[in-house]
Structure formats: structure tokens, C-alpha cells
Symmetry: D3
Subunit: 337 residues, 6 copies
Amino acid sequence: MSGYPYPMLDPPSFVWTHTSSGTGDMKVHQWVKTAAGTVPDWSDYDVTIIGVPLSKSSISSSSASENPDAMRRAWKAFYTYNIDEDIDLQEMKAIDLGNVKQHVTDIAWTHERIQEAMAVMRIHHPHTLPVILGGDHSITAMLVKGYKQVHTHETVGILQFDSHFDVRDPEELGKANGTPIRVLIDSGTVKGAHVYNIGVHGFFNGKTLKDYADKHAIHYMTMKQARQRGISNVTRRVLLQLCQHVDAVYVTIDMDVLDITHHPAAPASAPGGMYSEELFEAAAIAGACAKVKAVDIVCSDPRKDVAEISVKTSVQTMLSFLTGYTKRLQKQGRLRM
Amino acid sequence: MSGYPYPMLDPPSFVWTHTSSGTGDMKVHQWVKTAAGTVPDWSDYDVTIIGVPLSKSSISSSSASENPDAMRRAWKAFYTYNIDEDIDLQEMKAIDLGNVKQHVTDIAWTHERIQEAMAVMRIHHPHTLPVILGGDHSITAMLVKGYKQVHTHETVGILQFDSHFDVRDPEELGKANGTPIRVLIDSGTVKGAHVYNIGVHGFFNGKTLKDYADKHAIHYMTMKQARQRGISNVTRRVLLQLCQHVDAVYVTIDMDVLDITHHPAAPASAPGGMYSEELFEAAAIAGACAKVKAVDIVCSDPRKDVAEISVKTSVQTMLSFLTGYTKRLQKQGRLRM
Amino acid sequence: MSGYPYPMLDPPSFVWTHTSSGTGDMKVHQWVKTAAGTVPDWSDYDVTIIGVPLSKSSISSSSASENPDAMRRAWKAFYTYNIDEDIDLQEMKAIDLGNVKQHVTDIAWTHERIQEAMAVMRIHHPHTLPVILGGDHSITAMLVKGYKQVHTHETVGILQFDSHFDVRDPEELGKANGTPIRVLIDSGTVKGAHVYNIGVHGFFNGKTLKDYADKHAIHYMTMKQARQRGISNVTRRVLLQLCQHVDAVYVTIDMDVLDITHHPAAPASAPGGMYSEELFEAAAIAGACAKVKAVDIVCSDPRKDVAEISVKTSVQTMLSFLTGYTKRLQKQGRLRM
Amino acid sequence: MSGYPYPMLDPPSFVWTHTSSGTGDMKVHQWVKTAAGTVPDWSDYDVTIIGVPLSKSSISSSSASENPDAMRRAWKAFYTYNIDEDIDLQEMKAIDLGNVKQHVTDIAWTHERIQEAMAVMRIHHPHTLPVILGGDHSITAMLVKGYKQVHTHETVGILQFDSHFDVRDPEELGKANGTPIRVLIDSGTVKGAHVYNIGVHGFFNGKTLKDYADKHAIHYMTMKQARQRGISNVTRRVLLQLCQHVDAVYVTIDMDVLDITHHPAAPASAPGGMYSEELFEAAAIAGACAKVKAVDIVCSDPRKDVAEISVKTSVQTMLSFLTGYTKRLQKQGRLRM
Amino acid sequence: MSGYPYPMLDPPSFVWTHTSSGTGDMKVHQWVKTAAGTVPDWSDYDVTIIGVPLSKSSISSSSASENPDAMRRAWKAFYTYNIDEDIDLQEMKAIDLGNVKQHVTDIAWTHERIQEAMAVMRIHHPHTLPVILGGDHSITAMLVKGYKQVHTHETVGILQFDSHFDVRDPEELGKANGTPIRVLIDSGTVKGAHVYNIGVHGFFNGKTLKDYADKHAIHYMTMKQARQRGISNVTRRVLLQLCQHVDAVYVTIDMDVLDITHHPAAPASAPGGMYSEELFEAAAIAGACAKVKAVDIVCSDPRKDVAEISVKTSVQTMLSFLTGYTKRLQKQGRLRM
Amino acid sequence: MSGYPYPMLDPPSFVWTHTSSGTGDMKVHQWVKTAAGTVPDWSDYDVTIIGVPLSKSSISSSSASENPDAMRRAWKAFYTYNIDEDIDLQEMKAIDLGNVKQHVTDIAWTHERIQEAMAVMRIHHPHTLPVILGGDHSITAMLVKGYKQVHTHETVGILQFDSHFDVRDPEELGKANGTPIRVLIDSGTVKGAHVYNIGVHGFFNGKTLKDYADKHAIHYMTMKQARQRGISNVTRRVLLQLCQHVDAVYVTIDMDVLDITHHPAAPASAPGGMYSEELFEAAAIAGACAKVKAVDIVCSDPRKDVAEISVKTSVQTMLSFLTGYTKRLQKQGRLRM
């Protein structure tokens, strides 16, 4: 591969100098390579990471734009080895391509760059799984559109962990963090019946949003229902159903699906949500599913965090997803190590 | 109804200007009407809310006096629609009557006003269910007395969620937040055998208090026992038992019943307590019970809160109770909408 | 005056219910009337307050959008009486017209509404002095343009308290919080020689910004210089000079001019800045100057505040300015009380 | 002296085990002896310390009741040696008599105990200087009354450092923290003309309070005036004037006289106040004045503190006062070491 | 017993003055006697408490050195009576012997004192159960060595609650908080097969550490496995197995085994951990086991705490362990009351 | 220069990817080059920066070890251009050599590496001025010894900004943060008469430490004295005196010299200290003095910081020193640009 194909990306603002010894234990920041304006000449990667530091598109004030770098700093505390599953992420190769460029005052411009970044990544790194670090939930609409732009013939379904439907009206709000699912449905990018939401609960969705969801045949299971059946069981069953109808599944994890005690840092963090160990299980199941092609983690605002609970949980959500993905590659015989 | 019958009440210090559109989604602050010195000429309400900003009566320093306004500010983040139960609180009508007047240095004076407020509310709004936002637990004794003052012939029972018995000696402390149950029993207002406590646990009650509870036949179930049987099951059974012996049930929720992770803001918050989703379930069950006639939420000190966990949990506790109450009214065919 | 002339304004999200007794002591929240969709039929006001909850236009993430309501809550702790000057603001009449409407994702739309709000206010309340509660510094460009739109023949000068020049390039950033002075100069709205900056200091301006300032003859005095001469003396002299060349002076106070100990809540708060008592003096002097026609207070982000230091200081800055304005009106014989 | 003459006092809740070596450097917690239910058989002390953990009498919610123990914990970080003045407090003897007993719900009862404590202390420790650690400002009225109860023929004057007059109406509030000076004047305990207030400023006193102050000939100097003349100079002059007319001066330091940056922990902390080094100087001057017979430090709420700024400042205020007192005793030849 | 046998101990820095009435309810700080340089002449105690304020030996910066005093202050909020188990700790006698002396810059010196303290305590208080309040995990190696130094012929096993193996290489780190189990195994003090770890999980152990654990036959159960079987069940079974092979069991509780929501204050606090009520159960089971001879609680850094969640949980962990111990003594007929 | 001469250094844990454009404005993190295991082939640098992440040697628990990286992150907010002085640091070249390697448990080993690092730096970069980012004050003794090891014939004097003498006894504490000046005097490295301390104040030094200072002829000026004369004036005079007697001046800035409001993050932060603008002036004066050969900034613990006040102040202290150094080089004609 010649040249740097990502003009719409900035490198992460910093790179770790800690180098791995090549053998033995490794922390995540040593494992994830950083592409600072150039992509090392490897045959390919298994995982590409992109940060999307946009949260000006949030309905209530949010600094989720600071999340990508916050996660990069936080994953320095994690090893690549998952003792619960006896899986070492080092079996895969991962590269951090940096952050989508941001315009200070033109949100639409930034949204175009996000779509573009996903599209170019699908072209240049077709065999990798993109992990996107948000930013707020508005980015999901652009990312899925970017995916569809390249994979025009694939039917895309969405597995959404969220305490909201996110089907508010873009006519009123623009492409804001409350609208991505509706943007995708109304634009015909994704069918309502191909959206599965796990985790809506409590008093955080107006009735009209439920009516929209019902009208468009969005599948959803409330937290209460999901917990009674087991989050893991529900996630497995949802993926099974979804995979029967779509070619590719995009997983979007709005961290406000978590209980406020387990993730205080979302603008809409609330009691009555999912617990982190439940989300870790679900993320691992999603990562292992062959049709899952991309994942984003959104709406975590580091400035609202308490004792780093939220950012550590966001990182472990990503690593749990990647544990599942490692299992998938093992099963597919795709790991080269 | 002519004139304002509540001279012992101040309006809430602020009112929201956001008006509902009349149709469609509504946030709680748009749904709850505010009576600022006048009561709108509706036939009647289903719910009356009163704040009691008193916490000078607390044994350890508390600013639970700031909780009523903190809850009013926090409920702006909640819709009236409960997706877990598919219930919309808008089916009912609610009015916020404001706060009981406070004397800066004369706690006894304030206690009298609290009793008076409950009594007058029972006379002027006999068909509504009062929701009282404390304040500390000392107010429960006054509120139950106010209720009995009007409903002199009713036998009143108490369903108490609390990590304490609250039967310390008023001879020593006065009518403090550690004494309300004893004040009620010793004054003959409520029989010990009509008090059911769910949630005592750990090392937060002296042995002599248990002895008092045993001597007066107070029913209690420790958190450990309650969790083994399921908080919901226990709550249902307790209400069943209680309703066989009393005419009216007063529900008092001391927020320190919750685990410190789920409610850090009580003066006595401690580990080993109830989880918020357990309390929400229990509150909904209580709200649905036909003999439940009033509820208070006490001992939440906003200044000790972390990331708004406690105040959001207090609000959702109230809304969960009201979800149950909506179901009750539906069942009773009392809803006018 | 018939009808509500401000379609681009929302009322403040809440109004205080505390009413003044008409005589005697009054807190600021009792003194400032609130126009919730209607303007009371008084002959006129002396002061109009507008909130501009916009900070999406900030270069670094900011929640200054929450400042207008934060100031409204905080001024409840202040009396109208200034004992240092023996001036009671009650001699004047003030009205809070609410907040400029915001678009969630279209910053340019919001900027237009801001300009419009100032223009309409100059037409409908020509005798009043507008006090604008930001929001970030991008709004100043729109507000001055709105002023000029009405007062087309006036030469407008700017008295700026700021640790930055705010002359970064709008070509690159759009109309962001680092660009307002340049937007005004480049558009010909204000001449560089009519801009006086007090408070630039330290390492917070690149050299090229100083070069721009020099090239456009912007007057500035560093904090070090200003303190040696006395902030009050400097402010008086600057106004004297400015008033010889312009018809109207717009005062803009970027709260980051303050030392980080006195105002931790600006995105760019830094050590080495002005002290609050110095700013209060300067603000009072500006308020008393006959040609000063408007003032804004910007770049205070309540989420970054510590112990309410910043928001209380913002309020007292406003009240100090109004103390000067009261003196001006006294001197002009314009007070009706 | 036989027996423990202070039935209205509890010992401090803890005592330090660190013992001084008898010679050499000493921390304050080693220097201050603790009387835990018994008074060591020394001939006499120079300083008696009493805590008054009462803040239920505060207008706005306050935990200043926790200040006495907070100061005791904080003074462990201070040596007895003041290098600025080359004075070692070890030249004097100090004893901590503990805290005035508190009733949980009967503020009047507690107020009586406070008065009693001062009276008994004057009888049993007539040669010592009492240092009282508040608590809120309501206690000053009781303490001065207790002093007068014993020293019936002395004319008592008050030197008050405060941002408020504290002359609100006890008819309305009871003996609250906003009323002590008025309680003393209205009861004839102290003449208005014998009250000197340094530090009133800003927008924190209603005009009617100033009118009361003027009517009763209270002397006051605003912060602005005081700073222009120098706080030290003003304090010296005030004491000179006061000592010409009274037999004894009671010094009361409301910590809200300090700028909010130097003492964020008062309920009414505000910008524009005194700086800590100015207060330290003033306190030392007061301590050195022969007619000063007692001092209290009030309205510091440890729960509102930031980085221990407030409590350390409270301790150093006390130690600065005692530095002055040591000088006084040196001059009077009263030191025994 | 004559003289004070603990020259390597300092008394706790403070002692509570609150004395118990001898009968009735008691708080923990009233129940635990304090030995300030002398040991009261009782026949014997059941529990000895020692603080080890060492955390300079931590890999990442830690103030766990402040934990012993933090726990002493926090247990003032706990009664001795455990209502869940209807057990009153007052049936036993406990003494706080103080803290192991610390060298400011010589960690090896301090480690020797820790070993010495345990050894001397086993000699002078052979019938008591030592409870050690860390400090960081490095102290466990020294404490077990001190135990073995006296009980040379006992085989010692370890029950470890931890999210880490703590078998990093002391060649590289010295006796740090990541190495204690390996120090004990490599020195032959404890066999790998006699170490049982409950709670390793997530991404917090490198693969080579697991390899070390496997090579030395350390038993471990991940959090996920343990939770599926029930933490209580697992603890019971582990103790059963362990007791078949060893003479004495040393219990070490690294508080980072807890989920970050339940204990934010460990340097390595992370999501996905144990919940406090699970740890309380496990601790009680361990306390009741006849072969358990000592327990430590380590790696809780009070400066990282949030709302006292961690320190209260640490105290309740200790009290839960002692509840089990009380049951053991009851069963053994060893209680004298 | 061939090879990397600093085996005792680690690179900083991260490097910024932001590259300067070569012309125009630059932030400090773009200006400071980073040597990650290799030193770029330039003729020479003007400034070498070294981090010393050691604070295990602190008497009270400190995380000043985290300060070097905290300062590196914070200086990203500062431009190289100082508008107060119209000086651009870009005129000089600076390189960040990284951090001195640390042993987890062997403080003496680390101290040797610190001395070694300074010695090697003086040999390999003889023309540069070293700026050392502490760490605690113990490092100053090692750094001065490292300097003397190379420059054996130079007489070294010390200009110390500190609220303490730092002459506690190393016999008792080892080479701790309270002892560096005494370590240097007792070892004959520096004469007491060549030590000038500005800023001792308050109650933070025992009398015996003053006696030691007097006995060894250490010069000191209390904060009160220094402020009366002007910190700048005093600094100038001290340097004048010192330069008459020594060949080289080592400047050590203990950040606890600052008032607690201006630097809350030192373990010993206290009221009554220096203000940041005073320290900035003094640092600039020191940087400009021809005989000043090195500077360290110590005892700033980022975990105790509030709103980044302390770390921003530490950075600006360094930049102010370098502003003076730039002036020195301009005057000496040594700048190559």
C-alpha cells in the first residue's frame, strides 16, 4: 500500500513511547499500533480503530469529544490477556488510525468527513473490523452510511445497546445525538425491522418515540425484560434473528445503556440500567458473531466521569468485544500467529 | 374551590416555564402543575406533591432540606412515559403545592406546620394521593399524625423501606430523624404490629433498637432475607398481610435503604443495601396497592450526591410509585382521560 | 407596546416565585422581572437581560451554554444594595427577556438569531442597556453586528477585558470563540483602532495574533502593565480615549481575563490574571460611562466551576457594571424613583 | 481546682496520642492539652479552647457544626513556632475543654448551654483567654451574654470581621446566624456604638440592615475602604477607639469576611472579600490588644471546603490571634516560661 | 503481662474519647480498646488490630498508607450489632495495638518491622486473631513470614481475594505490592498449591503471570466462574479443600477484588469485579473457619475514595469477618460473656 | 554526538504528534523536542528538560511522581510567546530527555540515578540549562551533587523558594523531602551561607530548624518581609549578593512556597504564601541571571490539584524562568535565530 489514504484523519494527539518486548505480557497501549500519518507496511490488520471527537451535535451539552483520547490514555492500564476467557488479544493485530478531522463551527462538514472516513477505511482495510470511539450518537448515522456507500449491495442491520430509541426528528434537531436511527430509517439506509434495541428502560423515551419504533417495526427489549431472560441470552437470540435477514450487522453501544452507577459519564446516565459485567458479556457475544462488521462506542463524556469508572468501563467494553472477535478469528482460522 | 387553603405552604422557589404542547411527549416538569399561591380550578387531582425542606432535626448534619427543590430540578430529565410498563403518567393529573414553611430556629414550630399541611391536604384534596418530598425522617411522624387527625377512625399501617428501625428514644433526641416510628408507636398513633420494615441490615442498628422492635412486634425483614426471597415478592406479601389489618397504609422510603453505590447522598449511606431497580419495583408494587394512601421519600441530601446518582434515583423512585398508582387507577376505572 | 416582539427568544427555563414586598430589601431575583412570552406594560426599562446559551462554537469543549441559567440561579444570593457604593439597583428597572433560541446542529442559524435578537431589542427597547449573558465569545461578533444593523450611523468601539486578542482566523475556524474581534474588523463593523483590550498576558496568544493586533492598530495593555498603573485608572483612561473617537462603546468581558483562582471555570482559565475585585471596579467604571451602550459576559462554563467561585464572580461583575450604570442614570437624572 | 466544672461540655470526640518531647519543636496538637472530663492540676492556663458544634441555627443549610473537630484535625499540620514573628506559642499554656453539648432538636436548649459554658469558664478560668470554635454566628450572642453574666459591670464592645452586619430580625428568625449583633443590641447587652464591623462589602446586606446599623450607630468600614487604608491600620485604629469606651472587647470573626477564593467554605462565601494574609495580620493585632478578652471563629463549613483551604485558614487565623496574645503576655510579663 | 512488648508499634495517632456505658448499644470505636503504649491487664483478647501504613512499596502511586487511620475514623459509624446475623461483636474483646513504625525512605527497614510485629504479636497474644489494616499488598509477604517465624512447624495456606495473582517478579520490583504471593512461594514459606485465589478477572494480569500460577499449582477461580457458582459456595469449598492440607489459613483481601463501583479507591480498581455484599458473605465464612488465623485488608487508598464508599466497605468487610469469628468462638465455647 | 548517553533515563511515556509548521505560532509541546532513546543531531540545545518522578521519599504521602507527565500534558495549552515581555521562547531550542528511571522499592538506587543523570547531562550537554521537573524536594540534593560531581571546582549557591527550610535531619528521615538543604550542607557540597531562602512563613517550620539555619548562616527572608520589599526586588538583591560569592547558582522552587489558593496541590500547601504572579516575576529574574545554571520545580502533586490551578502554575513558572533565560541569551548574543 502506498501513501496515506486518510486525509480526513488526524493522528491521535499523542503516541505512547512504551514499546513491547515482542514476547511476553503486553499492555493494550503497546499492542495497538499508531498510524501517525503513515500506515506501516504490514500485510493487513485485524482491527482498525478510529476516534470521532464530535459532540457539538449533542442535544444537551457534552464533552464526549474528549472520549477517544481519554480511552487511549485509560487502556494503558489493561493487559491484552483476558483471564476470564483465556484469550490474548495479541493474537490479532490492531492499528489506531487516529481521529476524524473536526470543524470548529460547521457540524455538517464534520459529519461528511465521518462518513468519508468509514468509506475509505472499508476500501483500504477491507479485511479489518473497524472500532469507532465516539463522540456522540449522531456519528452512527454517518458511519453506517459510509459503510453502505462501499458495500452498496449489503443489507445492514443494527444491534443497538441504548436506553433510548434515538429516533427523534432530524427535521427539528438536524443530525443530532437523538436522531441517528431515524436518520438511517428515513433515508432508507437501514430498515426499521433490522434494528434491534436492547436496554430501553425507565422514563427516558417519550411515548411518540415508541410509536415511531412500533410503526417502523423496530425490535426492542426493555432492560427489565432483558434482565429477566439474561442479557447474554437475549443478545445471542437477537443476533441469530438479525443474521437471518441481513448481510452485515453494525453494533452501536450507547454507554448510557449502563446504570448510572456503572457509567456516570453519559449526558443521560440514569438509574435502572445495565451493569457493566452484563454489557461486557453482550459485547463479547457480538464480537464473536460472523456478520458483525463494525462497532461504535458513544456518548461517554470524560468530564462527567467519577473515579474513571466510565472510561475504564468503555475500554473494557471494547476489549470484551475484541475478545469475542479473537474467538471468531480463531474459529475462522484467520489468525496468523 | 375558592381561596388558597394552604397558609402553611410556600410555593416552590421556582416554576418551570416550559409548557407542554397538550399532545404528545411530556417531561415530568411539564406534567406536574405548580400551585403558586392559588389552586387551578380543576375538579380534582390524582396526586398532590408537597416538599418538606426540614433537616435540622437530623442527628448528624444533613442538607436534606435541599432535596425537594433538587428533585424538582432533576425531574426535568424524565418523561412521563414508562416504557418498562407501557404506562404514561399523563393519564393522571398532578399538582405541586409547594413547600411547608420553615422556621429557622424553632423545629417544633415547623413540625406543627408539617402535621397541619397533611391534615389540610386530606380535607381539601381528599381524593388525591399525597407524595411528600423530605426532608429528613422526622417528618414521617408528623405526616402520619396529620393523616390520623383527619381520618381519625382509620387504622394506619406503615410500610417502611429503611436500613434503620428509627425507633430511637425521643425523650433523648426530640422528634429527630432517628425516632419517627417510635414517636408514632409511643403516642398510640400506629401499632408496632402494623409497622413493616424492609431493608434493615448490617451494623447500623444497636441491639436495643431491635429489642424495642421485637417488644412492640414490629415486623422486619433484613436486606439479606429480603433479597433471597426477592424484594418484589416480599413487598407484595407484606402489603397483603398489612392490608388484612389496617384501613390505610402509609409508605415511607428512607433513601438510606439503598446501597451507598446507588444512593451516596444519605447521611447514613452504607454498603450492603438495596439496589435501585429493586426499590423501583417495590415502589411500583406499593403504588398499585389500593390501601396505600400516602408516600414520603426522605433523607436524601443533595450536597452529598455524586454525579446526581441519588437525586435521579429519588425521582425515579417517585415515578415508579406513581406508575403503580396509575395502574391502580386504571384498574379502579378512576382515570378521566 | 402590543405583542411580544421577540420570536427568536425563549423564556428562561424557570422563573422564581419569590415576590418582593414592594418595599424594603430585595434580592436580585426578585428585582429582575421575567418576560415569559409577554412584556409587562411598563413605560420602559433601564436594563434588558438576554441569555445566549451557545458554546458549540468554542474551540475547546465548553458548557458555557449553561451559564445564563447558572447566573440566574446564583443571583438569588445577592441583594440589590451595594454597600461599598451605597447604591441600590432598585432605583432602576430590569427585565430578563430570556434566551436566544438555539439550533442543536446548525451554529450559523443560531448566530443569525443572536444578531436578530440584538437588533430587535434595540428597536423595541431603545432606551435600555442590554446585558448579555454568554455563551462563548463568538456571540460578541453577532451582537455588535446586531447593534450596528440598527444604529447604522454610529461608530462603535469595543472595550474588551480578555486574556486573548480573539483575532484568530474565521477562514479556518468559522465564527468561533477565538475570532469575534477579527470578524468585526475584517467585516468593517469596527475599526481595529477602536478596540481596546485590557488583560492580555502570559503565554496565551501566539505571536502572529499580536502581529494582527499591531497591524490593525488594536490597543492593548498587558495585565502586568495594567496592574502597575491600576486597573481602575487604566479603564478610566481607555474609556476617555475611546469616547473621543466613537459614538458607542460595546463592553465585552471574557471571564478568562480573571486569574484561574478567581475564575476557574473558563476553558482557558490560567494563572497570572486579573483579580475579581479589580474586575468589579473596572466594570463599575464602564457602567458609569455615558457612551457604553451594551455589555456581555462570556466564556464562563459552570461545569468547570469550583465552589461556585466563577458563577458568583460573574454575577457580581454584572451587578458592579449595573452599579456604575445606576450612577450614570442618577447623574443624568433619568431615574424615575 | 477539684472536680470538673463543665457539665455542659463534652470532650472533643478524639484526642491525639502524639506527645511532645518537652523540649524542641512541637506541633499544635501536641501543645494544646485536652481535658477529657478532668482538668489537669496546673496552676492555670493562658488559653482555653471550646468548640460549639451548632449550625442548625443557620439560615441556609450549614455543616459548620463539623468545624471544631475539623480544626482540631487540621492543626496537626502546624508548628507552634511562627517564623514571621519569631514567636513560639509554647511560651503559653493552652487547654481544649471540648465541645458544648448539643440537643438534636431543641436549639434554644443548646443556646442556653453555650451561654452557660462561657459563664462557667469565666468563673473557673478567669485568667485565661477563651477561643471559641464555631459553629455558626448565632453563638456569638450567647457567648457575649455568658461573658456579661459574670462580668456584669464591664462594658463590652465588639470587633467584628464580617461581610454582613448580622442585624437581621430575631423576631422573624429566632436567634439565628443572621441576628447575633441585633440580639445583643436589642437586649441591651452591647451598645450599637460599641460594635465595629470591618469587611462588609458587595451585595450581601439589604439596605434596611444598613439603616438599622446607622440608627444604632454601629461603626462599619467596607472592605473597599478598609483595603485602601490597610486592614492592619484600620484594625489598630478601631481597637484604639473601642478601648477608649469599653472595658472589654469581644472579637468575632465570621470567616465569610474572606474572599471566596481564600475561604470557599462559608455558606455565604463570596468574591470581593478579605485575603487570608490580611485577616492573619488583623487577628494578630487583635490578640495583642490588652482589652480583648475572647475571640470566636464562626461560619466555616468543612463540607463546603476545597482542598482544605478554609480549615487551614481558620486554624492559622486562630494561631495568628494567639501570636498577638503571646506578645501581649510577653509585654505584660505574664509568661511563666 | 508486664511492660509493652511492641517497640515496633506506634499508637494510633488519635484515640476516641467516647466511652461505652458498659451495657447497651455500642459503636465499634467504643468497643475496640486502644493500647497507647501500654496493654490493659485483661486476661486476654480475642482480636488484635494492627495498622500498617505503608504504600511506598506500591507500583503505582498510592496513599493506602492513610487507610488504617481512615478505617478507624470510619468505624465510628458502625454499631457492633449485626442484624443480618443477630450477632453482637461485643461478645468478643478487641484491642487496637496501633501502627507499625515507618521509615520515610528505607522500605526494607519498614518491611522488617512488619514481620517483627506479627511475630511478637503471635508470641504475646497467642490466643487472639490478628486483623491487619494495610497499607499495600507488599505487607502480606512480611506478615505471613512473621507468622511462620513463630509457628515454624505449621503449614500455612493462603485464601486470597484479589483481581490479580500478585506473582510479579521481586527480582525486578523488590518486595512490592505486585509480588507478595511470589515472594512467599519462591522463599518456600508457602507452597503454590496452598494458595487459593478468588476473583481474578478481566484484563488485569499478563499471561506470564497466569503461567507462573499454573506452574506453581496456584488455585484460582475467575470472578465469572465464582459468580456463576456463588461466591459464598466457592469460598466454603475452597476453605474445605485448603483445610485438608494446611494447619493454618491466612486470609488476604486485596480490596481491588471489588468492582470499581463498590470500591473506587484501589490503585487498580476496575469494572467487572465482586460486589460488596458478596465480599461480606465470603469474609464472614472465612472468619468462621477454625483454621483461619489472620486476615489483612489491603490496597485501599482513601485519597481516591468517592463519598466514603471504599472506606465504609473496608470497615464492613472487617466487621463481617469478625461476625464469622464470633460465630466460631460461640461454637468453640470460647466466649467469656 | 553518537549513541544515546542516558541509560538512566526513560523517554516520557508519551510524545505529542502535533508538529510545528516551522514558522508562525507554536504551542510549547510543539516547541520542546522529545528524545525517545536518541538525541537528534543538532549542534546543541539551549535547554534540557528532565523529569524525576520520585515522591516515595516524601514525609507525608505524595503523588508528585505524577507531576512531570502532568506538566507535559498541561503545557500543550501554552504558546511559546510571552506577550508581557514580547519574548518568544522559539528563539531557543529545547529538548525533553525524559524521566530518570525509578526503582519501585529501593529509593537509594533511584537517588543514585538522579545524581548520575545530572552528571551525565552536564558532560554531554554542557552548554544547556537543565530544567528538572520533580518529584519531591529530596531530588534537589542529588541534582546539586550531580552538578558538583562534574563541576568540581565551582562553588555552588542555592536560591530556594520555599515555605520551609528543608533542613530536617537525614539521620532520622534518610534523604527525604524535608532534608535536601541539610544533606548538601552537612556533606560540604554547599555552604550554609550560600543558601538563600525566600518565602518561609507561618507555622510551618519548627524553631530548631530556624536554629539550624541560623547556626549555618543560611540567609532567609520571610514571606511577610519579602512582600513588603517586593518579591522581585528581593530576588534581584539576593542574586546580586549570591553571585558575588559563588560560581554557579542552582535555583530550587518548592511549589509549596505559593499560597494554597494559587497552588493547592503541594502536600504542605498553606495559606499566607506567595502569589503566582510574584513567583513568575521572581522566576524570570532568576532565569536572566548569568550564574544561574539549573532549576528544579518540586513538590507539586497533581492528584491534589483543583481545576488544574497547580499544574498550570507550575508550567508557567517554568516558562517564566525560560523567558528570563531567553533574555539572558539575547544579551549574551548566544541565540542563533
